[in-house]
Symmetry: C2
Subunit: 308 residues, 2 copies
């Protein structure tokens, strides 16, 4: 049983590869919920949805979010009706949010809804939200505090960042199944997602971080950064704001209490010595995942590290 700790885009690529290279029924994915937001009164869980759509073969690989070939009729009409609609949501995607919101209003937890949508879409892997309690990733900027989606989507990560925090994370419990999955796993992968706003909220749930820290199985991280910038998104900018070096070394440093092995890009081989000085074994390869074959190759390399 393999556990993957992940956010959206970058993590989803590796997970697509893993699901193709192993029995997906043996895969448990623990997803970030710190980006979850309510849009138009509907509960949107972007990372859970990206992972679910990816594992269902529905994801829009080009955009990195939403469903392949989706249309935007609802969103356009919402705009016409005077709604502020800066967060892109496709029509099929709306069906997910409508279903989730109704089921949660009827008393189901986010876990239960995630499980129901997973089953309806024929996904074989287990998908768990990190928690059923609300954790909100907040970005502190000189002009005040905003949500991650406001920072990332509405403002296209243009604002200066002073800090990031995870409102509600300290007090919250992991969702049912999360700690058990980690305990019963044969290995854990920390996916190449933004270490601050994708992996950060998950690790801010203190029981999850503790379970990973004291896990006896191999914990493998994959860097989301090559050189001084994230493969996609603002990870480097947010890392700098949180006092981490915006490089693969900085990522490893942030996970130093957790990792046994860390996969970095061959371009970053100069960082090997510093990362190994943290007590983490380094593997160099190509970590860019453009094609499905890239995803599968990197997945195979990660799986080989675990089997060793």
């Amino acid at each position: 049983m393999l556990v993957v700790i992940t956010g959206g885009t970058g993590g989803a690529k590796l997970i697509e590869g893993l699901a193709a290279e192993m029995d997906p029924a043996q895969l448990t994915v623990i997803c970030n919920t710190g980006d979850d937001s309510v849009f138009h009164g509907l509960y949107v869980a972007p990372d859970i949805d990206t992972i679910t759509y990816t594992l269902a073969g529905l994801n829009d690989g080009e955009k990195g979010w939403g469903i392949q070939g989706d249309t935007f009729t609802v969103l356009e009409q919402l705009r016409r009706l005077g709604n502020d609609a800066w967060f892109n949501l496709g029509d099929k995607d709306f069906a997910t949010h409508i279903t989730r919101t109704r089921l949660m209003a009827e008393g189901l937890t986010l876990s239960q809804v995630t499980e129901r949508i997973r089953a309806a879409l024929g996904v074989k892997a287990t998908i768990l939200p990190m928690s059923n309690e609300r954790v909100e990733t907040r970005v502190v900027t000189p002009e005040g505090e905003i949500s991650f989606q406001e920072f990332f989507v509405k403002e296209r990560w243009s604002r200066a960042v002073k800090a990031v925090h995870f409102a509600g994370a300290e007090r919250c419990e992991p969702a049912p199944g999360v700690l058990n999955a980690i305990r019963q796993s044969t290995a854990v992968v920390i996916a190449p997602s933004n270490p601050i706003t994708s992996i950060g909220p998950i690790l801010a749930v203190s029981d999850i971080r503790k379970a990973l820290r004291y896990s006896v199985v191999t914990v493998v991280g994959v860097s989301p950064i090559i050189g001084g910038a994230a493969i996609s998104g603002p990870a480097h900018k947010l890392m700098a704001a949180q006092g981490l070096e915006p490089t693969a070394f900085g990522v490893a440093d942030g996970y130093r209490d957790l990792l046994n092995r860390f996969v970095i890009d061959s371009e970053d081989r100069g960082l090997r010595g510093r990362i190994e000085s943290l007590g983490i074994r380094v593997v160099e390869t190509s970590i860019r995942m453009t094609s499905l074959s890239d995803k599968r190759r990197l997945a195979r390399e990660v799986l080989a590290l675990i089997e060793k």
Copy 2:
């Protein structure tokens, strides 16, 4: 100022004609809300929407509901996700329900939301729900009680009907503006909508029925029935269940305390004597509205009756 009391389909046709034949800013439409239902957690007000879309030039005249050329991507995906989706809702239509549900959750009344959507769609007429309190049209069948939409859409009005009642109507207040509109009107039209389940719920709000009964202006009704059957829908079946003769006479009989004039189809001229014995003046014409010119012609005839 003309007030029209209406349900959906049939009434919308006459209202389309009226809005073309008079200054729509002088038109106040009081809509049935007895068919309102929550689908997928979203508040759907079918008659308000049909009237709003009609006045915005967006309605699907062929189907009689929804928005012209709308697509059904959300609904199909809702089905794929395991939802029971027997009530047809188009993608643009979903934007209306999503907007309404969010605004109502934020504390706006149905009136306020209706007004906001009206303004956003550029409708000049005033559209008022009959009440901001929930009234639910319930259809009593031998197998138990169901909602109007379950009877009408899900079961395609196939079930035997023992009675119809309007849960909540007795205790409810008219929406703000309804009584004033009736008091300040120069005439009132009762549109050719189902007298039991479209006009019935409005008249079941006792202050509305009283305001119409004691109104000093002309109240004109237009029959929704030709011969022994409604032009569309199950009006005749429901009238029989409620002890009304399923003819234009039965409609007039149900409105006998309200009407000054009643427009029937020329085919029903045999009923003239019996209707006039109720103290109502009868006008015979063609009441079928297929084309826009039919709608405009009937509207002109109705307006001429008022001006007399």
